[in-house]
């Protein structure tokens, strides 16, 4: 356990002392901020029209600003997460520090979870910074707080799944760029897999849409927390972390 904290601290130090985390966070905030602003501005325009023409229903910030905001943030996350995870193992392998780490009396589990947690912390900081948007919403309108809570929970779980996948890919290669590209492709694959639901059979389609990282997020964005979605993200993390473990162990006996 002490080792875990040591690893966590070391990793966070590396994160905050290299430009990558700042760059990723900045770009993430610029994009999601701009999309939030334009959604709100568009909503304001629609509201104006709706006031002139009564009888239009469902004009509220919860559905027209919050839901798209979460959807947008999840897409930008998909673009950004591989950049946060790419260096976690690849950098160490290239520098040769991984063998060093593995020769310490540190368990692979501690190393792995330490790195995973460090990346989660950075990601959480990114999420916390976006609380500005709901706060602005509270200032100017009355959003429903339920979807805000569940939306952030969903984003966190989905981000954790992205990080677990990125960790595995990073442990397989020495090249950070390769790691980022492969993670990006894999996440995208897992994301879009549900789309094929329409042209495969209904039973296979159900399985595929169940595998899709996107389909499980929809409920969260709307304010519905379903145990199935939560468990899926957790299972996803467990599987990829376990595979990363195996990949780390293989370093030992490959020599």
């Amino acid at each position: 356990m002490r080792n875990f904290y040591a690893i966590l601290r070391r990793e966070l130090y590396v994160y905050f002392c290299s430009p990558i985390a700042y760059v990723v966070t900045t770009i993430f905030l610029v994009l999601s901020g701009y999309l939030f602003y334009s959604a709100f501005a568009y909503f304001s325009m629609i509201s104006m029209q709706a006031m002139r023409m009564p009888g239009i229903d469902g004009i509220n910030v919860t559905e027209m600003v919050l839901n798209p905001m979460f959807a947008n943030m999840s897409v930008i996350m998909l673009l950004m997460m591989p950049l946060l995870t790419m260096r976690l193992f690849a950098e160490e392998k290239k520098a040769g520090t991984l063998e060093l780490l593995l020769s310490y009396p540190v368990r692979e589990t501690e190393l792995l979870l330490g790195k995973f947690a460090a990346c989660l912390v950075v990601f959480s900081v990114m999420l916390v910074l976006t609380w500005l948007y709901p706060i602005l919403l509270w200032l100017f309108a009355k959003p429903d707080s339920g979807p805000i809570l569940s939306g952030y929970l969903g984003l966190f779980l989905m981000g954790a799944a992205f990080i677990a996948l990125g960790l595995l890919v990073s442990s397989l290669t020495e090249n950070q760029i390769v790691a980022a590209v492969i993670s990006f492709g894999a996440i995208l694959m897992f994301w879009l897999i549900g789309w094929s639901e329409t042209f495969v059979g209904p039973s296979l389609g159900k399985v595929l849409s169940h595998l899709s990282l996107l389909d499980h997020f929809e409920g969260f964005a709307r304010g519905v927390i379903d145990s199935r979605d939560v468990i899926y993200y957790i299972d996803f993390c467990i599987l990829f972390l376990f595979m990363t473990m195996r990949s780390l162990e293989s370093k030992k006996w490959r020599g």
Partner: protein, 541 residues
């Protein structure tokens, strides 16, 4: 002496076998029909591989004896094991899940009534929603169906694009996009513009065990359901059958009492008067909470007038004349009916005009018994009047006589709900949004106990639902709405639609600027600043 190296042959065989197997697999993927060839390919490939393995037995054995291989296989098996466990966990979680709707309005939660019905669902029900691929309104329906599927393991659904699967659409006779078919093995129900109320009621209709019967009274020259001619009711019969009701004739004189399984008793345009015994049978039927649909034509003595009067329904001694708004090319005895009671379930949201060829006025009488609630469902236009001088009319001399005739709009249909008990008086009214929970439970209690309130609908014309006119404009909908409302059992329920929160927000110029600067400039700009400070301090340290 050039001898061919056997290991080379074997390795060539190995590669060849591998390529053949891959090719066979690809072929299978592309052309599933070529199955026999694929099998042959796989067999040949496997034989080649086996030959390669036999030839290189030693190398392979050594490879498997290496530590790394063992470890690798171990790792692989472990990953498979964990994957298996996780799949198992996922399967269990898919079966047993909990769902929390934390929206303020509980937008994604079904009403208690629906939840209860789903909980008690005992046979599989399947819903097929026909939407175009990617139609925006499909999402709403999918949300709704998702909640139903969550409520019961017996409920399943699928989405079908009728353009891509026209066969399926034809089998269910789908005519419009957005139709949802709810079916069990035995019955099916079609609904359009699905909302919770419609879906739940369709669900109730398909899981109903006993067949419901709509009876047409015969014996007084009524319109016949077997008559395919223009005066017949055969098209109406088909329409009723499509709603999952059996349609039968009944001779009241012989039956002595109305059949117990009658959902609705219809008297469609009798030309001769009913006998007093038959009238008393009808009275008994109404007392037991029966539902009657009566269509009366002008200038006929049906013997029903005093019977209807006792429920506060007045059938006039007149014919409605409308010289202005009538069907183009028809005479002025076919008034257009375009004013509907918007607050009654039958004519709610009803907009298309209907036409009543040769109609008599049917209105709510001046004195209505306290236990009866009457509503005039539909009226003719303001230019019409109820002509009482029938002799003149027959000579084609219809003029409005303000002493005797009534000026339009003239009511042509009345619905009455006859209640046993006074406290049930609110039952059929649509509830207002306050205090929903206790009322809802009270309503369901009511539905389980006590006789159902009797219902009567009287139309001042029988031709409008006949074969010649049923498919004209709004006629079919009007007739079928009335029939469905009458045929509804107490199990069919009214569910208040979820209220959509309407909350337009118009940003002021300043607010818009604040929004832009904080979310697009200040917050993202603060991060690099912070980063530069941190990195600088580290360098200087």
């Amino acid at each position: 002496m050039a001898r061919i190296n056997p290991t080379k042959i074997f390795s060539a065989l190995g590669y060849g076998g591998f390529i053949i197997i891959v090719a066979a697999a690809v072929t299978y993927g592309m052309i599933p029909a070529a199955q026999s060839y694929v099998w042959i390919g796989w067999l040949v490939g496997l034989l080649c591989l086996a030959a390669y393995a036999a030839g290189n037995f030693k190398t392979i054995r050594d490879y498997f004896r290496m530590r790394s291989t063992r470890h690798g296989a171990n790792a692989f098996i472990l990953v498979l094991l964990v994957l298996g466990i996780l799949i198992f966990v996922e399967a269990i979680s898919a079966r047993h899940s909990a769902r929390f709707d934390i929206t303020a309005t509980k937008r994604f939660t079904l009403s208690e009534q629906t939840t209860k019905i789903l909980k008690n669902l005992e046979k599989p029900v399947h819903a097929t929603a026909f939407y175009q691929e990617g139609a925006p309104e499909a999402q709403r329906t999918k949300d709704l169906l998702d909640q139903y599927a969550y409520g019961s393991p017996e409920f399943s659904f699928e989405f079908v694009d009728p353009d891509r699967f026209p066969g399926k659409a034809r089998r269910y006779k789908i005519t419009t996009y957005g139709t949802v078919v709810v079916e069990t093995g035995a019955r099916e129900e079609k609904i359009t513009l699905a909302d919770e109320q419609k879906l739940t009621n369709a669900l109730l209709r398909v899981i109903r065990d006993e067949e419901k019967v709509v009876y047409f009274v015969t014996g007084h020259d009524e319109k016949s359901i077997d008559n395919l001619g223009k005066d017949g009711y055969s098209i109406a019969k088909e329409a009723i059958k499509n709603q999952n009701y059996a349609v039968r004739d009944i001779l009241l004189m012989r039956a002595r009492e109305a059949p117990a399984d009658a959902s609705v008793l219809i008297i469609a345009g009798p030309q001769k008067a009913l006998f007093p015994e038959e009238i008393s049978t009808l009275e008994q039927f109404v007392d037991q909470g029966g539902h009657l649909l009566i269509l009366i034509d002008p200038e006929t003595d049906t013997g029903l007038e005093s019977f209807l009067k006792s429920y506060g329904i007045e059938v006039g001694q007149d014919i409605i004349v409308d010289k202005l708004s009538r069907i183009f090319g028809a005479d002025y005895l076919t008034p257009v009916v375009s004013q509907y009671a918007g607050y009654h379930a039958i004519t709610e949201d009803f907009e298309s005009a209907s036409f009543f060829p040769i109609a008599v006025s049917v209105s709510v009488a001046k004195d209505v018994p306290s236990y009866v609630q009457n509503t005039e469902l539909a009226k003719t236009g303001p230019s019409s009047w109820a002509e009482t001088d029938l002799a003149m009319l027959r000579e084609g001399m219809a003029t409005f006589d303000k002493d005797k005739d009534t000026m339009g709009p003239i009511p042509v249909a009345v619905v009455s709900t006859i209640k046993e008990k006074i406290e049930e008086a609110e039952k059929d009214q649509t509830k207002k949004a306050d205090g929903d929970k206790p009322e809802e439970s009270k309503e369901s209690d009511d539905r389980e106990a006590g006789p159902r309130p009797a219902r009567i609908v009287v139309f001042g014309d029988s031709d409008f639902a006949g074969n010649a006119y049923l498919n004209l404009s709004g006629n079919r909908d009007f007739f079928m709405n009335a029939l469905s409302w009458l045929a509804e059992e107490e199990d069919l329920i009214a569910i208040r639609p979820r209220e959509e929160v309407n909350q337009p927000v118009v940003l002021s110029h300043t607010q818009g600027r604040i929004l832009f600067w904080t979310s697009v400039v200040l917050l993202p700009g603060a991060i690099p600043l912070f980063g530069i400070i941190v990195l600088r301090r580290r360098r200087s340290a």
